[in-house]
Amino acid sequence: MIDWSPLLLTFRLALITTVLLFVVSLPLAYWLAYSKARFKAVVEALVSMPLVLPPTVLGFYLLLAFSPNNAFGQWLEANLGLRLVFSFEGLVFASMIYSLPFMVHPIQSGLANLSPSLKEAAYILGKSRWTTLRRVLLPNIKPSLLTGIVLAFAHTIGEFGVVLMIGGNIPGLTKVAAIAVYDEVESLNYAAANQYSLVLFVISFIILLLVYLFNGGHLKRFWL
């Protein structure tokens, strides 16, 4: 029987990452959808970087930044008591950056595709930006929100390089299912590797299938 802790850890990581990422991405996507600032292109490029950057590069820089041997890592540890290398907190942070475009892009595109007159109509009816966002904009981009949430969740399940660089392979702490598969193969334990792989395969398939069924092809737009 396989050790279930890597799988549980994977889903705990994906869940926490998705929730935090949603909170962070909403204002960011809103700003990207409506801002006319000149440096918007820079922010858009940065948000999209995890799509093209090898995860090891991302992991490497995070490792450098968070290392207790460096100023920022020391500051984090001294002031917030956070050690972000080889810890679960570090994995959450790295995952959030790694999955950022998968949450931001669908929400941004959903907002940008809404008729601008909806927002303007709400303003003219005396509603604040917050009320307009909560009661008019978000309810009308539900498919985009679902897509963002599910993609961020699924993408976090699938991460490997970043975790390996910044989390290592500590059982129960940073050893997620993807790492466990690699670990089992390394020790020629193909049966266990297969069981982990199969679980990930089936669950990922079900998640994506559900999204496609809910949104009726809506997802396609965000896969390039």
């Binding site: 303007e120 109509a121 709400a122 303003y123 003219i124 009816l125 309810p139």
Partner: protein, 286 residues
Amino acid sequence: MMKLAVQKRLNSPTGEMLLDVNLEFERGQVIGLSGRSGAGKTSLLRIIAGLFAPDQALIQFDDQVWVDSNRRIHLRPQQRKIGFVFQDYALFPNMTVRQNLEFALKQGQDSKFVDELIDISELGQLQDQYPTTLSGGQQQRVALARSLVQRPQLLLLDEPLSAVDQEMRKKLRQHIIALHRQFDLTTILISHDQDELKQMADQVVVLDAGKVKQIGSPESIFPNNTPTQQFQGTIAQIEQVSDGAWVELVVGTQRLKVWVSTKQAAGLEPGQKLSLQANDSGWLVK
């Protein structure tokens, strides 16, 4: 009394254009805003609503100043007492007809008024339906009703009837006029339709390339459907402006202000009889 002095540089398909409009009119009127597309009608309406920032403006409604660039006053759309009906109606798809109207209520406002508006607009049967299930004319009535929930003083309509069929158009014109009277509104209406303007507007303002080209009663702007739109008048007054002249004509019992280019204005003087012919770009002096 509404005062409107607006300047805004616009990028039109034909290059940069200066929207430069100076208007004043009494409250309670229906003002028709006409002119070719790209003349700046919608931009002007959006500036009045506060959805679009002018470069320089003074907008005053009765004694309330909405915009005064010199005093750095610029009220947000939320703070102006306006109703706005968008060309695409902008009904919230996630709310039913009734919910669209209720959403518009001010905090603490009595929701009985929503019932009243649903009644007046004959939306009783439709109140629990979602906007996507409604016809164009029905959506239009919902949008109108919603724009009145907050009891605005100024109602802005951006080509309100362009997307409904001829039959419905006639009914809705009467409906809009009835609401205008019942709620003591001042209404600014963008329209291309001469019949519509004749039936609804007290005054018509014709914009061309960002400037006011003609102001007057609909009958004087669109003289009775003579095919060539040609008529004679006597010049009452000529007012020189930077790039042309305003010529005020007495045509029968009507007075009509016509803008002519500097070239055409040369040699004109009050008392002279003048024959005018309409062409695409304005009036041709003969």
